[in-house]
Symmetry: C2
Subunit: 110 residues, 2 copies
DNA sequence: TATCGTACTTCGTCTGTCGTAGTAATTTGA
DNA sequence: TCAAATTACTACGACAGACGAAGTACGATA
């Protein structure tokens, strides 16, 4: 399990990646993160929904209501062109970050 | 330049790595981070000193005064065995984190 | 003598995460 | 058949870590 403190800077990126594959909603995104990470990272509900708010405020995603006629109404989110650009930036930054952090990490293949 | 939000979870690890190579003090650590990262990451003073406090409180480092007879007195820090163990853990976690985040990153070699 | 570099310290603010709890509908299972 | 689990959120408040701004203190250099 990965501690949230460590992955913290990438929560928004993770969400954008998943929206990149098509519009989705909270519960589904949450399950996708769990599955794709093979249970190694589970994003807390409150963290997820507050990330949605932040991303929408920044214009990186847009929300709309689903037309479910059953169950609780879902709020769907889709990525905007500006969100795509931001995601791309973050991907590039990730390559740099990996490189930098690696310089402060020792290998312990004992 | 790497945003602090992204590297945030590794500030303590970075400091421990540098102390791993021998006792040191704030200003030196700060310069070492800058150099080793080739200016790609600069840890803010306040962040650095508050990290020292936290690490000391957790027993991962110990402080002692230098015997400078000139200039402002330095507070040196050395890593403890418990700090070594923690650093090792963090290195292992980093391998996992890298692997997980990579799953949410696209390659843009366009 | 003034400024630059070294080496911090204090204080207050802000952002993001998270625990707790609650709402509301549907599905499953004993 | 009725309770519990699952789906799908929302609200609220606490807390930790990063950081800007400012200040202190000393030595060396120009």
């Amino acid at each position: 399990m990965i501690s949230s403190d460590v992955i913290r800077g990438y929560n928004d990126t993770i969400i954008l990646y998943l929206l990149h594959g098509g519009a989705s909603y909270g519960y589904e995104i949450s399950k996708n993160i769990k599955e794709l990470s093979e249970e190694k990272y589970i994003m807390k509900e409150t963290t997820l929904y507050s990330a949605f708010d932040r991303l929408e405020k920044n214009g990186y995603i847009e929300s709309f209501y689903g037309d479910e006629t059953f169950g609780k109404r879902r709020t769907y989110y889709r990525i905007t062109p500006s969100g795509m650009a931001y995601y791309k930036e973050k991907c590039e930054e990730w390559e740099l970050t990996k490189d930098v952090i690696n310089r402060f990490i020792k290998e312990w293949n004992v």
